[in-house]
Structure formats: C-alpha cells, structure tokens
C-alpha cells in the first residue's frame, strides 16, 4: 500500500532501473502513438507517481499538451466520462490526459471500480469523444482492477505499466500530502455520511479478489463508525457485521478481530455489556494473543476493564488494568501506560487497593474468630 510521501521537488529523481524502463516505454508509447490510447499505470510509491506526472507535464516534445483531470476527491471519478468528453482533441499534435485521483485508498478503489464499469459501458463513445492519450494512474492494484471491472476497455488500444516502489532513502520529501492514498481509518471529523461508504462497499461486492473484499470490509467499518456517530446503533451493528463477513472472505484474521472489537463497542453502547465482554474475551483477545499483537492486546484489556468497571466488578478491573499497563510499558508507550495506571488509582480510591482490602478482610476474619 503506497503511504510514502509524494515528492514536491522540481528536481528529477531516479525511478530505479525497472521504473525508468517503464517510464521510457510510457514515453515512447505517447510519442509514437496516435489518437485514443489508454495507459493503465500502477504505482507502488506515490513519490514515483508524482515524478512520472512531473516528467510528463514538463518533458514531452513540442506539440504535446499535458492536462490533468480535476479529480480532487475519489467521488469526482463519477464524472470521469463527462470530463474526458469535455476535453476534446488537440487541433495539431497530441493531448496527454492524466487522471490520478487522490484520497483514502479504499474510497479510490471503490470509486475506480464504478468509474471503470461506466467507461467500459460507453467505451466506443469515449474513443470518439476523447481521441487522446489517456494515462489512468492508481496504486499497484489499479491495472488489475481495470482488468476485472472493464474487460472491453482493457482490450482496446491499451498498455499496462507497473512502476515499482522506490527506496525510502531516496524520498526526501518531509510531508505527507493530505491527498495521498492513506491507510488506516479516518478521524471522526473526516467521516462522510454512512450511506456514502455503504454505496462504495456495494461497488466491490461482486469482486472475487481478496484485496477488494478487504477494501470492502474497511469501507463498511467506516460506514459503521459513521452510523455510530449518528447514534444509529442498529445500522452500525449491521454494517460492522457485514464488514466482518467481508474480512472473513478475504481471510484477514486480524481485521476480523478488529471488527469484532467494533461490534463489542456497539453492543456496549446499546447496554449489552455481557455480550460485549464475551466477544472481547473469547473472540478478540485470543486472536491478538496468538498473533503476538501486544499493543492490540493491551488496548483490548483496557476496554475489558472499562466494561467490568461499568458492571461494578472492581477487583477484576484492577488486575486487568495492571496487565494492560504492563503491556504498554513493555512497548514503551508511556502515555497509554500512565493513563491505565491512573485508572488503577481511581479504582483504589473508589474501593481501596486489593492488598489494602485483603488486609482489611483478614483483620475482619481474625476479629470474627
């Protein structure tokens, strides 16, 4: 997954031996081609995508006009056919149209799936409307998504270019552009309405590729988070359950466990604390333990402790928090460890420490005998 920062430098940089060979092929294809041609370019590194785009925009021979489609968000891909149609040919020479949307990788993948299907349906029209060299750029999976979703588009006047990753040491750019293909989950304020994610997830439902099913699962997780923010817990639970099924189809054990944690979270909010506790203990924790994910295990322990606290089982809370704090300390996550130790202190204040309570209980027993 490309997560490296893109280069903002105007200085050319080396794409590596294979990358340079791919670029030379692309350049020759553009220079010697005619009329409508479609180039599917998959990039393992965002930096190499930026470099290829820079070179195309600055180093093409006279008569070639470079134009980038305005695809600021993945959703803009829904109008790609209209955007291409609006461009038209160049009176003399050749126009190079570059389309490389930015945004969350999952959104990009689902929107590309929709856009490719649409372009596939109106292929003949696009060939007539946009007789240009069209460079479609995306992450490394992109050409294969095009293969699956747009077989007719794939088979006509096309070529595939796979640009490998570049050594991180060669990538000097310090900042991560907000428009990069990012991994992970967005912050709450970045979330779109839940329906948006569910629509995108539906776009990948028919795909048999595990990668696409994993992406679908991530989109459904986002839908679930968005429903949760709206306080619609039934919908949140439905979306999370669908996400779990998608991850199971993709054989992503870790993500299944993460999603089960999400389901426990929703159940807890609905007041179903016993079931939430059971899921965390029996279905989430064992997976993190088996996979050796110490951090995820510590976080889950903290969540278990909070549910136990809600249930008033303070003695067990203290022990579980102790385990979580030790794990965070082992990972040198001082802030998290301090937070958990802080929670332990609160428990002591509420109920007294286990040793204090044990001493008190022993004293009470002695007195009674």
């Amino acid at each position: 997954m490309p997560t490296r920062p893109s280069s903002k430098s105007d200085q050319p940089f080396d794409l590596g031996q294979d990358g340079e060979a791919q670029f030379e092929r692309l350049r020759a294809s553009i220079e010697h081609g005619r009329g409508f041609e479609l180039y599917f370019c998959g990039f393992e590194s965002l930096a190499s995508l930026a470099e290829v785009k820079r070179r195309l925009s600055t180093t093409l021979p006279p008569g070639h006009v470079f134009e980038t489609l305005p695809l600021e968000t993945p959703a803009a891909l829904r109008t790609i056919a209209e955007l291409l149609a609006a461009i038209g040919p160049v009176p003399a020479g050749r126009r190079i149209v570059f389309a490389g949307p930015s945004g969350w990788e999952e959104d990009v993948k689902a929107e590309w799936a929709v856009a490719l299907r649409r372009l596939n349906e109106r292929r003949n029209l696009t060939i007539r409307e946009c007789p240009n060299a069209i460079v479609l750029a995306g992450p490394s999976w992109f050409p294969w998504l095009a293969h699956d979703e747009a077989p007719d588009l794939w088979s006509v006047r096309t070529a595939v270019f796979a640009f490998p990753g570049i050594a991180p040491a060669r990538d000097k750019s310090p900042t991560l552009e907000p428009s990069d293909w990012r991994s992970g989950l967005p912050m709450a304020h970045e979330l779109q309405p839940p329906e948006y994610y569910e629509e995108l997830a539906a776009a990948l439902e028919g795909s048999r590729r595990p990668g696409e099913q994993e992406t679908r699962g991530r989109l459904l997780l986002r839908a679930s988070a968005a429903w949760q923010l709206h306080g619609e817990y039934d919908n949140a639970l439905r979306a999370a359950t669908n996400a779990r099924d998608a991850f199971e189809d993709a054989h992503k054990e870790l993500m299944v466990a993460v999603t089960m944690g999400k389901i426990a979270d929703i159940l807890q909010q609905r007041g179903e604390t016993d079931e939430a506790l059971r899921i965390l203990r029996e279905e989430v924790l064992p997976v993190f333990e088996r996979l050796g994910d110490v951090r995820a295990r510590a976080v889950t322990m903290s969540r278990i402790a909070l549910i136990l606290y809600q249930k008033g089982e303070l003695e067990e809370v203290f022990a579980v928090l102790g385990e979580a704090a030790a794990a965070f300390e082992q990972l040198k996550m001082a802030n998290e460890a301090a937070q958990v130790r802080g929670l332990q202190k609160i428990i002591v204040e509420v109920k007294g420490s286990p040793s204090e309570r044990r001493t008190a209980e022993e004293n009470r027993d002695q007195l009674s005998t």
Binding site: E24, R25, A28, S29, H32, A113, V114, R117, R118, N120, E121, R122, R123, N124, W144, H147, D148, P151, D152, W154, S155, V156, R157, T158, A159, V160, E199, A202, A203, E205, G206, R208, R209
Partner: protein, 303 residues
C-alpha cells in the same frame, strides 16, 4: 434528410442524463400496463421507417440494424444483478419485441450465449464472434489460411517488407494471439515500440525481431497470468481438455462467461463452435503446471 423535433431532443437528453427520470418513466409505464403499448408503437414507427428507407435507398437489398454494446450494460454498482436479470428477460422472455421488420444484430452478453435454452431457440441464431482459426482443434495441425488472414490484418496497416527484413518470427506472435486480432495488434504495437526504443532502423533484422518477439510474448504472458483466479483453474483445464465450455449450472455459466469476457477462453467456429484457452493463458506458469500434471496423471493411468 434532417427532421428537427425539439421536444424529442429534450426527451432524449432527459433519458440520457437523468436516471431518475428514466426510472420514473419506466415505473409509470409498467404500472399502467403501457409498456407493451410503447413497444408496439416503436414497431409501428419502425415499419414506417423501413418504408422510408426503401424509398430513399433504391437498389439496396435491405436494412440491417446493429445494436452494439448491449453486452456491456452492467448497471451501476447497486443494481448490477437487477440489470443482468433485465437483460436476460429481454432476450429470453420478451424476445418478440426484439424481432424487428428487418435484419438486426444484437451484441449479447457472453453468458447468454452459453445458456442452452431460451434465446437460441426463440430469437434466432446466437453465436459467438469467433477468433481466427490458427489450428485444427482435433489434430492440432496449423491452418496456414488463418496465419495468412492475420498477416493481412497487419498488411492493411503497414508495409511489412519495409519494416521487417524477415517476417517468419511474426508467426510466433500470430500463434500467441490465438487468432484474437486485438491481442495480435497490441503485441505488434509493443514490438514496434521496443524496436524504436532500441533505436533499430527498419527493416528490423530477423535476429532483432526474434529477440523482441520473445520478450514481448513473455511480457504478455505475465499480463494474462496475473489476473487468473486459482479457483478458475479447474474450469480452464476442462476447456483445454474438452474444447468446450462447462454449462451444467447457472453459476458455471456466469463464471465461464467472465473468462470469455476476459479472453482467457477463446471461441472458434468451423462447422461447429469450439473453444480453447488463449495461448498466453495456456503458457502462464500455473496453467502450464496444471496441464502438465493432468497429462502426467493421464499417462500414468494409461500405463
């Protein structure tokens, strides 16, 4: 002859650009039972159109309408199943409306071709668009006429003698294309591009051409190999073995149609339809290994 009907132009635009309008119109027609009326009206219009064409085109033998890209209709992502069902319904239940008062060629989705009942019997002849036959499917012998036909595709686009000193290595490209013209032209384009990149001045020598052909075919095998699903391998092996497509179950039909759409399986026609793997698929590592294993098992059993 141009007839300007502003209202009709507006309606066409609305139908094209506003899916909601289209949906509402369809629902209204269906609910009010007027769909068949509309279809009848269209037929009446076409009857009149044929008469006008005949009058305008004296000496012509008739009218043929080609309805292209029907097979590409998949619907949006929320309704792909619905659209697939609708297309199936048109061809198997409502086929009468497709029978127009002149010759019509509809490009139908590949999966429809593989259904044994329905369209084939009712609407007329449903056939695959065959590839150029390069070998006999029973004897495996080369069919020179097929190679000549493929070479002609190239000759219509360039002066072969001026570009290539020796055309013999091109037979490897033709063979690798499986008689699929688009793949042949794509590989030829790649070959010429490599020659340009290598700064080779035409005519390209036999040695250079052989080297580039080998490289390009190797690259194309990779391109074909990557998207093959492991779960599709048994079906591909069956096609390779039987020269036919499995069509016992509905799910099998959709799956084989997908392989057909991606040209992993190619169809041929001589006397009857027969099928084979795309040569580039056949040469991919996992298919090659599977076929070799199957052959070895067969030999073992025979011994």
């Amino acid at each position: 002859m141009t007839v300007k009907v502003p209202a009709a132009v507006d309606l066409k635009l609305k139908l094209k650009q506003e899916p909601n309008f289209r949906d509402r119109l369809y629902r209204h027609l269906e609910q009010s039972g007027r769909l068949s009326d509309l279809a009848q009206q269209c037929h009446t219009f076409l009857d009149e159109a044929v008469a006008i064409f005949s009058k305008a085109c004296v000496g012509k033998r008739g009218l043929v309408l080609i309805v292209d890209s029907f097979e590409k209709v998949r619907g949006d992502f929320l309704r792909s199943e619905e659209v697939r069902f609708a297309v199936e319904t048109i061809f198997t239940r409502d086929w009468r409306w497709l029978c127009l008062p002149f010759h019509v060629i509809y490009t139908a989705p590949a999966w429809l071709t593989f259904f044994e009942s329905g369209t084939n019997a009712q609407l007329g002849m449903v056939s695959i668009l065959p590839m150029c036959r390069l070998k006999d499917h029973e004897t495996g012998e080369v069919v020179p006429a097929g190679f000549d036909a493929m070479r002609q595709i190239l000759e219509k686009r360039m002066s072969i003698e001026k570009v290539f000193a020796d055309t013999a290595p091109l037979d490897d490209v033709i063979e690798a294309s499986g008689g699929y013209p688009r793949d042949f032209l794509r590989m030829m384009r790649e070959i010429l591009l490599r020659a340009i990149m290598d700064k080779i001045t035409p005519p390209i020598s036999s040695a250079d051409l052989s080297r580039i052909v080998t490289e390009v075919i190797r690259g194309q095998i990779e391109v074909y190999s990557k998207p093959i699903f492991d779960e599709d391998l048994p079906m591909l092996f069956e096609v390779a073995r039987t020269h036919d497509v499995p069509r016992k179950e509905r799910s099998q039909v959709f799956r084989i149609a997908e392989l057909f759409d991606h040209h992993f399986v190619l169809g041929y026609l001589n006397g009857r339809e027969w099928y084979d793997l795309h040569p580039l698929v056949r040469r991919s590592r996992k298919v090659k290994a599977g076929l070799q294993e199957a052959d070895a098992n067969k030999t073992e059993q025979q011994e």
